[in-house]
Structure formats: structure tokens, C-alpha cells
């Protein structure tokens, strides 16, 4: 019996219900819509072309792809800035007795239905909702503030929806650092800031990178948050792709848009990886002490 026998059912499952269907999307993107009433495009090799990609980067759609990238980058960055002190606090300052309970509390919103959380925000952000009325109460605004169906509304929504995906890997990373390393750094005369910047943060870097990936990738493909909070002014790539498949039945164009969306994700990841590796090389070159994680590198 070959070693992978027991994995064979799952492997087949992934091929039949993941790899092949996704392959078909690629095929659609090369094909042609037959007419406005036929769902399935013509995908015979004789009609293969890149026309759908040309249509998808049309000025009507391109700003939405750029907006998606912008919302995702800003969203990932805000999640990181919010989570860094929070996860550090949870992992190092909270007493171990409370830590498990508080961690459980972070998991609750994470596991609450995405749709439900987003509907909660649509209540809070609506012109007669909490944010608007509180701002009027304290006199910061004299008229209702419409955050719902704006890009800002989507931005708040995505930060909220993906925040736990940044908090948790960062917490795990901070929690696994031996406190002795921080104490050693302080005993050797480093300030709190210096200890954090030169000892704690480099060791927590894998967690930060995992968190950024876990937030950025699904955020780029988000469909529910922009639909519920964005309206026409805050639509994202996911909304575009979905409407080609569900409303206009142009699977070819929708497929091409999905491919462009994935290309945006991959391009962003490649750029960030290169910049990250360069920064790491510069940081390591400028430091005299090697941390345990870097000895092997």
C-alpha cells in the first residue's frame, strides 16, 4: 500500500471540488459569452482570446480593482497597528488566570457569523445609528452623518471583520517568546522601547507576517462587507465578480475579473516579500546580537 493511501479520498475530493472547478474559471476567462441569455460561455479553443481581460481592465472597472487594493492595504495596516499592542498586552501583561478567558472572548466575534457582524455595523453606521447620534449629542456634528454606503463604512467594516485574524497569530507569537529574553535585554540596560523593537518584535515577526497574510488575502476577495456597507460608492472586486456571475451571466468576463483579482493578490504578496526580505537583511546587518531564530538563517 503506498504511503498516501489514507490521504487519497481527501486528495480526490480537493481535485474534483476545488482544482477542477477553479480550472474551469480560468477556461471561462479565455472563452466568449454566447448571448445575454445563455449562462455557459463558449470555451472551444477556436474562440480563445484575451478579450475578457481587455474588457475587465476597462476604465469602468479598473478603479474598483485599485479601490479594493487600497482598502485591503489600509485595512491590513490598521489591523496590525490595533493588534500589536493588544496581543502584546494579552500575552505578557494579563495574568495567566484571565488569559484563557480573554482569549475565548476574542474567539467569540471571530466565530460569530460574518453576515451578522456586518449587519450589526450597518445598524451602528446608519444615519440614525449610534455613531451619528453620539457625534450630534456631543456637538461635533449638527446633522446626521452617513457612514453607511461609503468607502469609510467599508473600511471600518473590514477592519472589524478581519481583526481577530491578526490578533490571534500575533498573540501566539508573543506568547511563545521566552520572558527570559526580555529580562535579559533589560538587565543588559536596554530601555523598554529598545527591548520591544530589538528583541520582542523581531521574534514575533512570523506571527505578524502570518496575520498580515490571513487578513490581506480574504479581504481582497471580500464580497459581503462591501455589499452590505459599501453600496455603489464602496463596491470591491468581489462585488464585481459576483455580479457578472449572478446578474449579467457573463461568466467569461467574471472569470477574467477573478483572475485579475488573484493577480493583484499575488503581485502585492511578491512586492511585500521582496521589501520584507530587504528590510530584514538591513536590520540584521546593523545589529550586533543574533537572536535564536536567526542563528540558523
Amino acid at each position: 500500500m503506498p504511503k498516501f493511501t489514507l490521504a487519497l479520498p481527501a486528495w480526490t475530493w480537493f481535485i474534483v471540488f476545488f482544482a477542477v472547478p477553479v480550472g474551469f474559471v480560468l477556461l471561462f476567462s479565455l472563452g466568449q459569452q454566447v448571448d445575454a441569455f445563455t449562462q455557459r460561455p463558449n470555451v472551444s479553443p477556436s474562440v480563445w482570446s484575451l478579450d475578457n481581460f481587455r474588457d475587465a481592465i476597462d476604465p469602468a472597472y479598473m478603479p474598483i480593482f485599485w479601490r479594493t487594493l487600497k482598502i485591503s492595504i489600509i485595512g491590513t495596516f490598521i489591523c496590525l497597528v490595533v493588534s500589536l499592542p493588544f496581543s502584546y498586552w494579552l500575552a505578557t501583561k494579563v495574568s495567566p488566570r484571565w488569559r484563557g478567558f480573554l482569549l475565548g472572548l476574542v474567539l467569540v466575534p471571530f466565530w460569530t457569523n460574518f453576515l451578522v457582524r456586518t449587519i450589526g455595523w450597518s445598524l451602528i453606521l446608519s444615519p440614525n445609528g449610534l455613531v451619528s447620534s453620539k457625534l450630534q449629542d456631543v456637538g461635533l456634528r449638527d446633522s446626521p452623518l452617513a457612514l453607511l454606503y461609503t468607502q469609510t463604512g467599508v473600511q471600518i467594516g473590514v477592519v472589524y471583520n478581519y481583526l481577530p485574524l491578526m490578533i490571534l497569530p500575533l498573540f501566539v507569537a508573543f506568547d511563545r517568546i521566552d520572558p527570559a529574553l526580555r529580562e535579559a535585554s533589560k538587565d543588559l540596560g536596554a530601555s523598554k522601547v529598545k527591548t520591544f523593537a530589538q528583541v520582542t518584535m523581531p521574534l514575533a515577526m512570523p506571527g505578524a507576517i502570518a496575520g498580515m497574510l490571513l487578513v490581506f488575502i480574504p479581504l481582497m476577495g471580500d464580497y459581503i462587507t462591501p455589499t452590505l456597507l459599501g453600496g455603489a460608492k464602496g463596491s470591491m472586486a468581489g462585488t464585481l465578480v459576483a455580479s457578472e456571475f449572478l446578474d449579467t451571466f457573463n461568466w467569461s468576463l467574471g472569470g477574467a475579473m477573478a483572475v485579475i483579482m488573484i493577480a493583484f493578490i499575488l503581485a502585492a504578496l511578491i512586492v511585500v516579500t521582496i521589501v520584507g526580505l530587504l528590510l530584514r537583511a538591513i536590520l540584521i546587518a546593523n545589529r550586533r546580537v543574533r537572536l535564536p531564530s536567526e542563528v540558523t538563517a
Binding site: 503506498p2 504511503k3 498516501f4 489514507l6 490521504a7 479520498p9 481527501a10 486528495w11 475530493w13 480537493f14 471540488f17 476545488f18 482544482a19 472547478p21 477553479v22 474551469f24 474559471v25 471561462f28 449562462q39 455557459r40 499592542p85 493588544f86 498586552w89 482569549l103 475565548g104 474567539l107 467569540v108 466575534p109 466565530w111 457569523n113 460574518f114 453576515l115 451578522v116 457582524r117 456586518t118 449587519i119 450589526g120 450597518s122 445598524l123 451602528i124 446608519s126 449610534l130 472589524y160 481583526l163 485574524l165 490578533i167 497569530p169 498573540f171 501566539v172 523598554k192 490571513l214 476577495g221 459581503i224 465578480v241 459576483a242 456571475f245 461568466w251 477573478a258 488573484i262 493578490i265
Partner: protein, 291 residues
Amino acid sequence: MSAGTAVRARKRVSWTGVALTVWGVVVFVFLFLPIAWIVVFSFNTGRILTVWNGFGFDGYKAFFDNPTPQAAVKVSLIVAVCSALVATFLGSLAGVALARRPGKWAIGFLLFVALVLVTPEIVDAIALLPWYVLLGKDWNLTTFNSGWTRLIVSHAVFSTAVVTLIVRARLAGIDETLEEAAGDLYATPIRRFTQITLPLMMPAVLAGGLLAFTLSLDNTVISSFVFVQGTTPWPVYVFASVKAGLRPEIASISTLMFILTVIAIGTVGLVLRRGGGSSTDIAATMTGTGT
């Protein structure tokens, strides 16, 4: 640490510690704000959810009087149980193979698992809808015209990957000596598996199964593409209602499903804790960030 620093730490209030605690409280408020809002507004008596009218149980009454949302919740529960069973079966086997029979094949397989986990859900959704049409209508595999099959299968793709990683992590942490001892004592491979390996991996199998159940219960994006009229799961019902206009009953269903999710996730936590995991391990497992 010397006695001197301990005394100093007790006497001096560190401003960074205070600032971090304040920030921690702020983030928790942020995390629970929309959930609290939904729960509060589920007791709204008005006709429109967004405008507060008064306190009452009208939303819950509307849910229990209306067969459509009840049917949707029922569809979701049945689909969640079935897809969790499928995913637990496939994922557990794959997890055992990865932990106990590693090799070059594992690299290729794990690449698949990783791709399944990172692909944005909308891509799976637009890929599966045409695929089911092709299988069901062109190739006459009529089961794929059924909403049940479509939902169960779709939900069980992602969760199979999750269960695989959880079971693999559990077995990789336990060395093989017990299983080898059973083999030395002439246990057949089947008995060895059912009496030694299976009990050892049980906490991971249960936790994985419950996570698969919750993932299916919550799935909105793929479901709203592949569902068939007559088998509408509750998130799709809610999503459609949002577009038509929010009513308080939506908040009531959401609150009820929220309670169900908390119970399921609390159980996962307990199972993993009794299986000997630290809270860090549990958090890592439950978010798929630990492996």
C-alpha cells in the same frame, strides 16, 4: 530577578502597563459592539430594524410564527451535520496519513491544503456554481441538481482542509511507540487503529468536526451561489432579507444562531482543553494559525 527589582515593580505604576490595559478594554468594546447591537435590536418592536421603537419580543415571535426562516435554520442544521461528517471522515484519514506516513507526497498534498485554505471564498463560489450545472445537467449526475448535495459538498471542501491540519497536529505531537507496542503484541492493523490510534486522535477529531459544523452553519458566500430554491440555508435567507429591508426578526434569528455558535465553540474549547491543550494551542487550532 533580584529582590530589589521585584519591590520596585510593586511600588511603581508603569504608565505603559496602564496604557496597554486601556487599549485592551477599548479593543474588546470594539469587538463586541456590533454583536451587542444586534442582540439589543432583536428586542426592537418596530417594523424596521434600524429604527428603535420599544422593547418587546415581537422579533422572536415573528420568527416562531413564520415557517420560512424556520425552514432555513433547519436546512442549515442538517447541512452542517452532514458536511461536518464528510469533512471529519476525509480530513481525519488524511491527517493520519500525514502524521504517520509522511514522505515526498506530503509536500504536494499540503500545497493543496494550503491553496484550499487561502483561496478567497468568492473564487470557490464562482467556480462551484458552473461545475454543479455541468455535472448535474450535462453529465446527468442529477444529485448535483439538488440543493442538499450542493451545499453539503461545497461546505465540506474548506472544512476537510481544516480537519486535516488539526488531526495532523494532534498525532504529530504523540509519538508512535504505543502503536508500535500494539503491533509487537500481535494486534492486527485494524485493531491497532481502532484501539490505539483512534482514541489518541479523538479530541482532534471532535474539535475538527465541531469546527466544520460551525463553518458550515456560517457559510454565506458559497451558499448564496450554489443554493437551490427550496433548500435555502439561514445566512442566504438573511442576506436576501437585508437587500429587501431589515426587519427585527433578522436580529432575532441572528441572536439565536449566535447563541448556538457560542455553545459549539465553547464545546470545542472544552474538548481541546480536556485533550491537554494550552489556551494558546487552542486559539491557534481554532483559527488554523498554529500549523
